[in-house]
């Protein structure tokens, strides 16, 4: 009987470490979510609840709902644009000999290394110089700028020699170029396309600094939350924060399920 007990004792430090680590990551989120169910006016202990009054407040706030809709529109359209542009760039660089292809590839992925603040400032200056008014469109453009390199990198990595040979087989069997792309390349890369789209959606959904700097009247949800926070802490901000977190988690889960399932099959 000593064996199992000893084993348990030995694994205690391990479990302690795991708990600490996950606690460090998830405790703030857990506290945020918990106090979104607070029944009083301040999101601080003691907890008295649970209550859904702050969620009710969120969903009866027209400005918040409008910002939520804006966020959804920006996330979906900018991600779609980033995936399409990233796919075309990856296809060109992976399948054709282009002059300066190394340099082109470098420029395409370089924005990954630049901070969002710098990108936001650059975009702001550019839009001002060009006289483009700040709007949801400029926010969307900003999100394409940050997500395109990611989509390109994911898709490019999936277009190896094996895939090139499969496309060759399609041509050999009589497929024209557009048929190769629509019937073979895109369906074959479906998991990678899906993954890059959903990653882009989550990044756009959470993104604050670019959305803040290049928007004016119509704003996305993170910007609206920020302006709410300026008037102090309030369980309502916890409620909307929890909602944003829920959507992010749901997106990642969908992504994981779809990509994981297709890998397994």
């Amino acid at each position: 009987m000593r064996g199992p007990l000893l084993h348990l004792l030995r694994s205690l430090p391990l479990w302690g470490y795991v708990l600490l680590l996950y606690g460090f990551i998830f405790l703030p989120v857990a506290v945020l979510v918990l106090f979104s169910f607070q029944d009083s006016r301040l999101p601080v202990p003691p907890f008295n609840g649970p209550s859904l009054r702050w969620y009710e407040a969120v969903f009866s706030d027209a400005r918040l709902l409008e910002a939520l809709a804006n966020s959804v529109v920006v996330a979906l359209t900018s991600s779609l644009a980033a995936v399409v542009l990233g796919f075309l760039a990856a296809y060109a660089l992976a399948r054709h000999r282009l002059p300066f292809s190394g340099l082109l590839q470098g420029f395409l992925t370089a924005p990954l290394t630049v901070s969002y603040l710098i990108i936001a400032m650059g975009l702001l200056i550019t839009f001002n110089a060009l006289g483009v008014p700040k709007s949801l469109l400029t926010v969307g453009i900003g999100h394409v700028v940050i997500n395109l390199p990611l989509c390109f990198a994911i898709l490019y990595s999936q277009m190896g020699d094996h895939q090139a040979n499969i496309e060759r087989a399609a041509r050999d069997l009589g497929a024209r170029e557009w048929q190769v792309i629509t019937l073979v390349t895109v369906p074959m890369l479906w998991p990678a396309l899906f993954a890059s789209f959903f990653l882009s959606v989550t990044f756009s959904w959470d993104e604050f600094i670019i959305a803040f700097m290049v928007s004016r009247f119509d704003v996305t949800l993170p910007v609206e939350i920020w302006s709410m926070l300026r008037s102090g802490l309030n369980p309502k901000t916890n409620a909307i924060g929890s909602f944003v977190f829920l959507i992010s988690i749901a997106t990642v889960l969908v992504l994981d399920l779809v990509v994981f399932r297709s890998r397994k099959a």
């Binding site: 040979n165 499969i166 060759r168 087989a169 069997l173 073979v184």
Partner: protein, 353 residues
């Protein structure tokens, strides 16, 4: 003479500075099973890619059934390919894979189904039509690739080392099947391999390639028994090449002096020319037999049992090149043993290249 199925005329191919092919002239007869055999980098795959339309030759012409296809893209050529990695479409069912070529040719769905079924039955995988590619084994994928390429009834089927990824037993089995299928459909097959046993087992004609040129071409028997060059003699099976010099030459006979003795062999060569004699291990005997000339005695340095025979490495006194010879299955042999060597000059092949 009828129009050949494939004709290469003066094909040359350069990749930058590197010459991959030069002076390739080759005719392939309708309905034959041709094997392009050679080491890696010999140019055989490059030639296959030129035939499939995946590469444009730097010079020369490619004709299929008399029509110049040099500038025709793969999709428009009457050729299909079985790729080394099979290159099946991973997102489609087996039936959709096999039917792809027909779909691209605008064959209506109702007509496609029975043809796909027939092609799958031909390779013995009719029951897999609805499965996915990743549910099949390597050998099965190979057959699907074959069915997919044959269902569109190409004039020429190209096979790019299709058996390379299979284990030995399965490879031998697939060789037989390939040969049988080729006989049944009657399509011209052009098959690339570096495995000389595979080439002999399946080819009607073998084209031996090395360093971008054709070394030899002919039936397996002809190339094995009467190779045209040192390279062909060495690449096709085990061999002993005995270097020598021509001392006399007259009317299809030459007298050759070598370290193993002087022999009269048939062939043409100028007096004084450096030549080599090809002598297969199975043509070196420890007993004199019919027409055998004594070559002196040799010491066995290595012996191995290969099932059908014993393979020995021997060194003859005064000749430091190791000779290979085969002894019958039941003849026991030990390293250190001394053997008398005999060979019939009729088995020796004069090699001038």
């Amino acid at each position: 003479m009828s129009t050949p199925a494939v004709e290469f005329r003066d094909i040359a191919m350069c990749f930058g500075e590197k010459v991959a092919l030069q002076g390739i002239n080759l005719s392939i007869e309708e309905g034959s099973f041709v094997v392009l055999l050679g080491p890696s980098g010999g140019g055989k795959t490059t030639l296959l890619n030129i035939l499939g339309g995946f590469l444009a030759p730097s010079a020369g012409q490619v004709l299929i059934k008399g029509a110049d296809v040099t500038c025709v893209p793969p999709a428009k050529r009457p050729t299909t390919t079985v790729f080394q990695d099979y290159a099946l479409f991973p997102h489609m069912s087996i039936a959709a894979n096999v039917g792809f070529g027909l779909r691209m040719r605008g064959v209506p769905r109702a007509e496609r189904a029975p043809r796909v079924e027939k092609a799958l039955d031909m390779v013995g995988l009719g029951h897999t039509a609805l499965r996915r590619v990743d549910e099949l084994s390597g050998g099965q994928r190979q057959r699907i690739a074959l069915a997919r390429a044959l269902v569109v009834e190409p004039s020429v089927l190209l096979l790019d080392e299709p058996l390379g990824a299979l284990d030995l037993k399965l490879r031998r089995q697939m060789q037989e099947e390939l040969k049988a299928i080729q006989k049944r459909v009657g399509t011209t097959f052009v098959h690339v391999t570096h495995d000389q046993e595979e080439a002999m087992a399946i080819g009607d004609v073998i084209v031996v390639m090395n360093e971008g040129s054709i070394e030899d071409q002919g039936t397996p028997e002809r190339i094995y028994l009467r190779p045209a060059s040192r390279f062909a003699a060495n690449f096709m099976g085990e061999n002993n090449l005995i270097e020598g010099r021509v001392t006399q030459s007259q009317a299809g006979k030459v007298r050759v002096a070598t370290a193993l003795g002087d022999f009269t062999v048939s062939g043409e060569a100028q007096t004084g020319a450096s030549i080599a004699l090809s002598l297969r291990p199975e043509h070196l005997h420890p007993e004199a037999g019919d027409g055998g000339l004594a070559l002196g005695s040799a010491k066995v340095i290595e012996a191995g049992f290969f099932g059908t025979h014993h393979q020995c490495s021997v060194v003859r006194d005064g000749y430091d090149t190791v000779l290979k010879l085969r002894l019958p299955q039941k003849r026991l042999v030990q390293p250190g043993e001394t053997l008398a060597l005999h060979a019939d000059p009729a088995d020796m092949v004069l090699l001038t290249r």
